[in-house]
């Protein structure tokens, strides 16, 4: 009998506690870092090894590349058929240069199936808007600054070393 009253007390206590609902379209949830949304693609990093296309369980990735003047492979086309992509993240795991990553975009409803065939340009735009573009640029700048600092530091050393 008293268990019931204790239970009722617990429920009444919940009235004053904070609510856990997010007002969804106005407030977006914060996703963890490894959230698997639609992909982003960085063509400069891709070495056309074809691992992502080979490991995809539904064969939704198709790509083509060619050798450029320096005998390096450069990517020409890269398509993801998003209708059959199962967002399993295997292509990201297997990529040796982290050229393909997953963003946190999942609100992709469209009125026509044509919009689900994502090509390289869309994926690169996705990289710039919702992906790691900013983080990569910031990392590049920082690396460049460090390099410049080190070079000027060593230049000063050789100068002072030369003088002394």
């Amino acid at each position: 009998m008293f268990g019931i009253i204790k239970g009722l007390g617990v429920t009444l206590g919940q009235l004053t506690k904070k609510k856990v609902t997010l007002q969804y379209p106005d407030v977006k949830p914060v996703w963890p870092e490894r959230f698997r949304g639609i992909h982003e693609f960085i063509p400069e990093l891709c070495i056309v090894c074809n691992q992502c296309a080979r490991i995809c369980p539904t064969d939704c990735i198709s790509l083509s590349g060619s050798r450029d003047a320096n005998k390096k492979m450069r990517i020409d086309t890269y398509d993801i058929n998003f209708e059959i992509c199962i967002l399993c993240d295997l292509c990201v795991e297997v990529c040796p240069t982290e050229a393909i990553l997953m963003t946190d975009q999942f609100e992709l409803a469209a009125y026509s199936r044509d919009e689900f065939y994502k090509d390289m340009h869309w994926l690169y735009d996705n990289h710039k808007e919702h992906g790691t573009y900013k983080a990569l640029q910031a990392a590049k700048e920082q690396a460049a600054q460090e390099l410049a600092a080190r070079e000027s530091g060593s230049a000063k050393e050789t100068e002072t070393g030369g003088e002394a």
Partner: protein, 330 residues
């Protein structure tokens, strides 16, 4: 205008009655709509979430949107269902719910109340007719889940009607009358105060039996979604489903009003107008039922009947005995 009982029935009086009934029905629909909204909000707040808050300011138009949706849905009658019974069942379930509201005293001036000298008996007798509607709905649907739901519901409601009636007997003994208006007036002058105090055992039995009568959690086996799809109203769609829902919520309001009248002193109270006191007390009882609904799991089928027959009836009988003894001695 309200001395219709002592005059022969004229056309004008008849039209007045019909208009009165329509006005009461409209008011009732409004009350039921906001009861449903109140339920969703209370249960949500107790579960750490906000209830409906998008449709209209603070979600107030949610019930209206739901009612509109139900009215616009397709009216499906299953092919092998017993057509006449299928259509009549919601009506048989709803009409007694609407009729019992006539005897409850809402205000101190009893403008809308029929002063029946057998008010309590009228209430309890009419609420038994709803069970017929429910069993008919379960049978006429030609669906085994509905049938089982309907039979479970009938067994439960009939079993719990007995403690419901018996728990009220203590109050009737103290008041000396079955007339609901007189019972409230007696509570104003009773030496122990409102009848909840001398009749606390009766009140507890009444609340448990009332929640079982209404098929509310923890006694909602007939509508157990996880077990019976939707019980006796599986096959009902659109407007007929709205009828069953309406029945349930009108009964909720009616039984809370009865509990207020019998145990909590009806419209009595200082300072505020009498109808406001009635509304506050009824809302408190309704909140209590929603609170229980949000807190407790369902009772097992085999323990359900045992609770009615082996626990509540002896306790109600004991309450009657005690009331009789103490009335003689004190």
């Amino acid at each position: 205008m309200f001395s219709w009982q002592t005059q022969p029935l004229t056309g004008f009086n008849f039209i007045g009655m019909v208009i009165g009934a329509v006005v009461v029905l409209a008011l009732l629909l409004l009350i039921v709509m906001y009861l449903i909204f109140f339920l969703r909000k209370v249960v949500a707040w107790m579960q750490n979430r906000i209830g409906p808050n998008r449709v209209g300011p603070w979600g107030l138009f949610q019930s209206m949107a739901d009612v509109l949706k139900l009215l616009l849905k397709e009216d499906i009658v299953p092919e092998n269902a017993d057509r006449a019974l299928f259509m009549i069942a919601p009506i048989i379930a709803f009409v007694p719910a609407f009729m019992v509201l006539a005897v409850i005293p809402y205000t101190a001036t009893h403008i809308f109340t029929a002063g029946l000298n057998i008010g309590v008996l009228y209430y309890i007798a009419l609420s038994s007719i709803t069970i017929l509607g429910i069993v008919l709905g379960g049978w006429a649907s030609n669906n085994k889940y509905s049938l089982v739901g309907g039979l479970r519901s009938a067994a439960q409601m009939i079993s719990y009607e007995i403690p419901l009636g018996m728990s009220v007997l203590g109050v009737v003994m103290l008041a000396g009358t079955l007339n609901l208006t007189t019972i409230v007036q007696q509570q104003a002058t009773d030496r122990f105060g409102w009848y909840i105090i001398p009749q606390i055992i009766g009140f507890v039995v009444f609340m448990i039996a009332a929640i079982a009568e209404l098929n509310q959690t923890p006694f909602d086996l007939p509508e157990a979604e996880s077990e019976l799809v939707a019980g006796y109203f599986t096959e009902y769609t659109g407007f007929r489903f709205a009828f069953f829902m309406l029945t349930e919520f009108v009964y909720l309001f009616a039984i809370s009003a009865l509990a207020t009248t019998l145990f909590l002193g009806g419209w009595l109270g200082p300072w505020l107008p009498s109808w406001l006191w009635f509304a506050i007390k009824t809302s408190a009882v309704i909140f209590f039922m929603f609170w229980v609904r949000a807190s407790m799991p369902r009772i097992r089928t085999d323990l359900l009947m045992g609770l009615a027959w082996k626990v509540l009836i002896p306790v109600a009988l004991f309450n009657i005995l005690l009331t009789g003894l103490l009335s003689l001695l004190l």
